[in-house]
Amino acid sequence: MVTFYGVELGSRLILGTARYPSPAMLVEAIRASGAEVVTVSLRRESGGERAGQAFWSLIASLGVRVLPNTAGCRTVKEAVTTAQMAREVFDTTWIKLEVIGEDDTLQPDVFGLVDAARILTAEGFDVFPYTTEDLVVADRLIDAGCRVLMPWGAPIGSGKGLNNPFGLRALRAHFPDIPLVVDAGIGLPSHAAHAMELGYDAVLLNTAVAEASDPVRMAAAFAKAVDAGAIAYAAGPMEPRDMAMPSTPLAGMAVLS
């Protein structure tokens, strides 16, 4: 059980809705993932296609909570306006705040991020900032009113996993009481399990499921991996040992030679 801004959730997996082979596949993948929260976005609508209307009715039919993002925004103003529009359209105070600072790695602009977070929390938003593992930035975001932090594991869509486990571990250690979500970069279930074993509260991913050969099965795989890691963290893992220890007691062994 994880709680974001007072909302208790059974699933620790947040799933993105982009890049699936088909809407049907998206729906199945969401179901298979067990996700109770999916991320969505806003884009320009033309009277002809009305693509957005179709997409929205699809999502609305699933009974999942949506977490709108400000993906692609590069300035505080863009992000804030996009958040305001998202709140009206999706009727939620939740916003995944992205302020992108660099085009290749799509890394957060931590300066714009903190400013936008301050403005949006003041306007009553519940901000989920897409950030880095930087502890000081985390402090500023919490000062700005964020009650969830979403550090990246690796660049968005890279599937590289956790580029800086030390930094993620330190972030967890310094903010034991803030829900932490690894957002972006996860490519395999073992990456997601690792994040949870570090004590993270949830994982947000999209490409690793959407671009798998079989997105629906991959969604199910991630659901299990996230559970596995969360349960393991709670169950208290053994301490690794540098030298080997026999797992079969040697007392009472036969001497047969």
Binding site: G16, T17, A18, R19, Y20, L26, T39, V40, S41, L42, R43, R44, E45, S46, G47, R50, A51, G52, Q53, F55, W56, I59, P68, N69, A71, K77, T81, T82, Q84, M85, A86, E88, V89, F90, I156, G157, A184, N206, T207
Partner: protein, 65 residues
């Protein structure tokens, strides 16, 4: 007059955001609007006047990560 809707030039006789949406066949649609980069809440669309050269963005739900 000429305004810019979602980045494209658009001829209109409409005087308000609501009217432009109607022209676009999006009056019933689930969309959010921004005029010249400022959010225009649904409630304020009827009274929000559109002028020559204004930029109007009409956004709808979309897939996102």
């Amino acid at each position: 007059m000429r305004i810019i809707v979602n980045g494209e030039s658009h001829d209109t006789d409409a005087g308000t955001v609501s009217a432009v949406l109607a022209e676009l066949g999006l009056d019933g649609a689930i969309v959010a609007t921004a005029l010249n980069g400022e959010f225009v809440p649904k409630s304020r669309r009827p009274e929000t006047v559109v002028a020559e050269g204004d930029h109007l963005d009409v956004l709808a739900p979309m897939q996102g990560g």
